[in-house]
């Protein structure tokens, strides 16, 4: 079995990460009730004998002693990380996994990327190497960060390059939180566009998520739950967004619920690699199947159901609803409408008591309403994992490589151009050593090239699907 290391950077990254570790522990605790350290757990956790000092205490078999997250926590402020270390998850991390500073990046990509990048490069590398040493087959780095800020965006994308150089064979899956248009960080368009260039070049897969969509989803759930309509059927604590005992605090801390959704996304993404199933899907299969061209590696995700009915023996009708939801605009973790855009490829990762025939039936049902690129008319990748998420009988994660990501990028570019035309705040960036105007122009043309690629694909949408002439056998 392979292992993955989570690198959480910046405030946003660490908050989501924290949620993720909480849920991951719960999930494994639910599946693995004997408390034996098994391969499934090993993919995200080390088992450490705490009585042994230093790092020598890894235990590969037997009872769970003390689990340590395979994670590296990076922030250039101390606040969030300190909170984590004082919270319930403090035992899962140790100080050797942390890198913090006190000054912060000041919402400046250049600070994070250029200044802290070179300052902390060695230290980051050392922690990464250490975490890699604890794995016997490191398969993937999950990088969690935001695009709008300074640390997550700047240092996070700096890290990508470091990883690529140091661990060329290990996948880099990036969960990027895109700023909403009403973002309070004024430089977020700059930061995002500068970061996009790095994502284009150094990531294997990017799961773009925007805060606005998460917020909308939460609001909708609240509406449903609080309307009382589902009171009799909704199982308590069955919401994907619920973390134990946090239910009542939802209104006060909407970010918690939002982070929870992202954390669930990561869990479901890796479930088929961790647990048994009749149709496994390893992490390396994701990029293999969903990334037809190196640059087009942005995958729009949707997660259903977000709550579950009290009755576990759902009728097929409900099961089918789960599939339908996954393609609806409302369930995307990004403001996008895949149904009315062009699919390059699509993955359906199913968990729980669902059989191949259910999967096939739904694909057949949904196919007519979806548009696939001419050369990939049957671009479906599926997996069946027999272990459902905690509290659910089944779930579905859909990953779409779809041109529907384009509007977000276009909008981002517009916001960037509005600022850039006025050269607003530019000096904050240019005063950083190594930062030049060309960085901005290159970044924006990189994004434009990406948008252009999506445009070209979209253009084929209206063209009739014609087979390319095949090799002609003369007998």
């Amino acid at each position: 079995m392979t292992q993955s290391v989570v690198v959480q950077i910046g405030q946003c990254g660490n908050q989501i990460g924290c949620c993720f570790w909480d849920l991951a522990l719960r999930e494994h605790a639910a599946v693995n009730q004997k408390g034996i350290y098994d391969e499934a757990i090993s993919s995200f956790f080390r088992n450490v004998d705490t009585r042994v000092a230093g790092d020598g205490g890894s235990i590969s078999k037997g009872k769970i002693s003390s689990l340590k997250a395979r994670a590296v926590l990076i922030d250039m402020e101390e606040g969030v990380v300190n909170e984590i270390l004082q919270g319930p998850l403090r035992d899962v991390f140790d100080s050797k996994q942390l890198i913090t500073d006190i000054s912060g990046s000041g919402n400046n990509w250049a600070m994070g990327h250029k200044v802290f990048g070179s300052l902390y490069q060695e230290q980051i590398l050392e922690k990464l190497r250490k975490s890699a040493e604890h794995c016997d087959c490191l398969q993937c780095f999950f990088i969690i960060h935001s695009m709008g800020g300074g640390t997550g965006s700047g240092l996070g994308t700096f890290l990508l390059k470091v990883l690529e150089d140091e661990f060329p064979e290990v996948y880099r899956f990036v969960t990027s939180i895109y700023p909403s248009s009403e973002d309070d960080v004024i430089t977020s368009p700059y930061n995002s566009i500068l970061a996009m260039k790095e994502l284009n070049e150094h990531a294997d897969c990017v799961l773009p998520i925007d805060n606005q969509s998460l917020f909308d989803i939460i609001s909708k759930i609240d509406l449903v739950v609080n309307s009382g309509k589902l009171d009799t059927t909704v199982k308590p604590k069955s919401l994907v967004t619920s973390s134990a005992g946090a239910l009542k605090k939802q209104h006060k801390k909407p970010f918690d619920a939002m982070n929870n959704i992202v954390a669930n996304l990561l869990l479901n993404l890796t479930s088929s690699a961790r647990f048994e199933g009749s149709l496994n899907m390893d992490l390396n299969e994701i990029s293999m199947n969903l990334v037809p061209f190196p640059q087009l590696h942005y995958l729009v995700s949707s997660l259903t159901p977000l709550y579950t009915l009290a009755d576990v023996n759902i009728p097929p009708r409900r099961l089918d609803q789960m599939f339908s939801d996954a393609f609806s605009k409302d369930h995307q973790l990004m403001r996008a409408d895949p149904k009315h855009s062009l699919y390059l490829a699509c993955a359906l990762m199913v968990r729980g008591n669902v059989q191949i025939s259910d999967l096939r039936r739904n694909i057949e049902r949904l196919k007519p309403s979806l548009r696939f690129v001419s050369w990939n008319q049957e671009g479906w990748k599926t997996s069946l994992c027999s272990v459902p998420p905690v509290g659910h009988s089944h779930s579905l994660l859909a990953l779409a490589n779809n041109t529907c990501v384009k509007p977000t990028f276009v909008e981002l570019r517009e916001r960037f151009m509005r600022l850039y035309k006025k050269k607003a705040h530019l000096h904050h960036y240019l005063q950083v050593e190594g930062m030049e105007e060309s960085c901005f122009t290159e970044a924006v043309s990189s994004l434009s090239a990406l948008i252009q690629e999506y445009n070209q694909l979209d253009a084929t949408k209206s063209m009739p699907v014609a087979d390319i002439p095949r090799l002609s056998i003369a007998m």
Partner: protein, 432 residues
Amino acid sequence: MLPAGCSGRLVAELRGALDACAERQLQLEQSLLVSRRLLRAWEPAGTLAPEPPLGPETKEEAPSPACTPSPQDLKELELLTQALEKAVRVRKVISKAGERDKAPSLKSGSFATSPGMTASIPTRAPGQAGSHASEAKPTRGVRQTTVPAKGHPEHRLPSEGNRAHVGVGARATRPGPGLRDKHVAPSAAPQDPEAFTLKEKGSLLQLPAAFRKAASQNSRLWAQLSSAQPRDSTDATTAAKTRFLQKMQTASGRPWPRLSAVEVEAEVGRLQEACSLLRLRMREELSVAPTDWMQEYRCLLTLEGLQAVARQCLHRLQELLAALAEQPLGPCPVGRPSRAPPPCGDGADPFWSPQLLLYSSTQELQTLVTLRLRVAMLDQQVHLEKVLMAELLPLVSSQEPPSLALCRAVHSLLCEGGERFLTILHDDPADS
């Protein structure tokens, strides 16, 4: 479709080759059957499948094969020896009993003349430790009979895999029809009980005296027949034969042929081998770069020599072909073409000779046999290649334009041994 003549020839050639192969396979299967049957009963843990029943049903179970494929050489031998020893004891018991009582089961006398039958069964009595291998286990599912024997507190003697109970000692049996094969006609082999003595030490098993006698006589006669041959060559008989042959030739009114077709063939075959040997030698010579002038000169001499030899060969061949051309050719009779043997020991020692071929391991034997088959196969392949070339190449080149399907098939058959095939594409896919 191929032309009729070509079809007929090729199909006949191939069917001939197939039949020859099938015949070999059949012979092999028969001998395999014998070997498997022999081994089945005494192999401690044969993985061999028992043959389905041929005889009548009995309550007995067929020996269910247990498995230990690795023959623990010495142990096996020891087991066999023990089985043989036992067989002798059993025989004695039976023959004594047979004198007293003409009960059918005992009268059968089967053991008296065929200890090997029981000998071939390993007896691994659970109670018997020591000499037996530790991994020894009782052959499951085998009906076993108990033989009281001196020296051995209790031996369990499994009856032969297939057929009836053979009751010995305390346990009497019904005579099954299967016993029939265990009878030995008294007339065929003199019933000399001592013929089967098993030396206490050295475990020498003797074949029946009649057989040994016949066998030794056989080899003596063959030796005589072989040795008589050369001595004859000077005497009057040979002269008479020669005279007869000459007379016949003269009486036929035809000139004495220089060589018969068969001889020409053999000679041509030899020249062909010469050609390949020369070629090998040439390649060898050209593959090494000479390091000093001596070597260089030697190489030059060798090449010149080879050239001279090749010239001689070619000359000889042309003579042969000329000789052959004088003989009229007739139409080919219907039927499969016959093939002359390759020039191996052509008429060298036509008789059976009792020479030995020593091998040291199963693997060596397998290598040898595989190689032998491979050579035969290659020889056939070369032959077929030539026939196919002769029939198909003219066909392909005479067509205008040639059928591409035919070209492809011919290419596959002639250039790829029929195993792979080529593809012919139109240059521009848009054309079609």
